[in-house]
Symmetry: C2
Subunit: 211 residues, 2 copies
DNA sequence: TAATGATTGTGATATATGTCATATGTTTCT
DNA sequence: AGAAACATATGACATATATCACAATCATTA
């Protein structure tokens, strides 16, 4: 039996996924849990220790990658499969750093996911063909190499406010710090993420579920 | 028999939805088509005239609302149900203007969708409780009333480039127009959408599937 | 044809952003 | 205890954005 946790913020999606997995001709699969945000996923994994956790990236409270990171740090045995719409190689790279066993796109077929689940039982890593092609192309290796650093909690806080459309001045007032400090945070965030304008910041925040 | 088209850009989601609908205890439902972008949805509806089209909003080429608008203009009989993650009342308002018969959220249960489908047969409109509550609250009526105008194609073009992080100057160069003209477009977009900063623009673009 | 809307442009002005370099306490980890 | 990372702050400077008001050209349509 493979005990599986499903974490995704859309109920209809979870319901569909559940029935797809159950009605696959793989009798080994059992859905033991279903959560709608990252925090719940993280505590479920720690308490219940499912064999496999299928995680969306964009979720409230904690995103899927953060959940994966937590589980990795704690050395839990649960195998993580990321199931997301995000094709950004950076995401995949991060996921692999956090020890995930699978990375499948939502616009792949269910068979890809089933394959990923099965491959966890023999200890391999499965990355959807549609994304692994891009990932391992010679061009991209340059970009992929310079790992983006994680941003700090305070920086996340600032980033969140930036994505809400607040100006540096307003953010400063909200956080009771100087406008200059906000600018420093902003600059550091952009430097860490290698992004050089607001547009990029917003898209980053949305894609990581921060906003 | 209710003939249904499903339009969503994520294959796994489509597969899950299909099996959920088919295995509902409603024997009336038949899935007659499945497409992954707005353009295909639009032409399928025109050619095949399904009874019901279930449309996601965020799709390539054309978003679900545009598909609904097209069908509405052409006076097609296909009933449109929007199935999306977007809770923004503006979206709902727009959808209703384009004559959709249902608006259901992806984080609602499948039963809400089934109810929406059934209500099309008797000619009603169904809006998920979780969103209709917000929509018809006294506070929101003010905001909802001043209908946001549609932005023009040129403005969309400019908006797309803004969301890619290009500066006004670069956009001007790309479109072979003056920087001042770009600024005018930018100002008009913001005025039409009642948005006052880049952050809002980006989020708007993403939520309407433009970016 | 007259009206409307889309597209293009200009000028002026106050704020805001992006990019430098630099510095000082405070945590946190080894 | 010492190193590394974090949060805070400042100054300077070039660019960019947001918000006014105004106007000419072109296409569509009522």
């Amino acid at each position: 039996m493979i005990n599986i946790l499903i974490a995704d913020d859309h109920e209809i999606f979870r319901q569909g996924l559940k029935i797809l997995l159950i009605s696959s001709n793989d009798p080994e699969i059992a859905i033991v849990g279903e959560v709608s945000n990252g925090k719940d996923a993280s505590s479920f994994i720690e308490k219940e220790r499912p064999d496999v956790a299928i995680l969306d990236i964009s979720m409230l409270e904690m995103n899927g990658l953060e959940v994966a990171k937590e589980a990795y740090k704690k050395g839990l045995e649960t195998k993580i499969i990321i199931l997301t719409m995000h094709k950004d190689p950076i995401m995949v790279k991060k996921a692999l750093q956090y020890g995930v066993c699978g990375y499948v796109l939502k616009d792949n077929a269910i068979d890809d996911l089933l394959f990923a689940i099965r491959s966890t039982t023999i200890g391999g890593k499965f990355i959807s063909p549609s994304i692994s092609d891009k990932l391992f192309s010679p061009q991209n290796n340059k970009n992929i190499d310079n790992t983006k650093k994680d941003i700090t909690n305070r920086e996340k806080e600032v980033l969140k406010l930036i994505t809400k459309g607040f100006t540096n001045k307003l953010i400063a007032e909200k956080l009771f710090i100087s406008r200059k400090t906000v600018e420093t945070h902003r600059a550091r965030i952009m430097s860490k993420l290698d992004i050089h304008n607001v547009a990029g910041l917003i898209k980053y925040a949305i894609s990581t579920g921060l906003s």
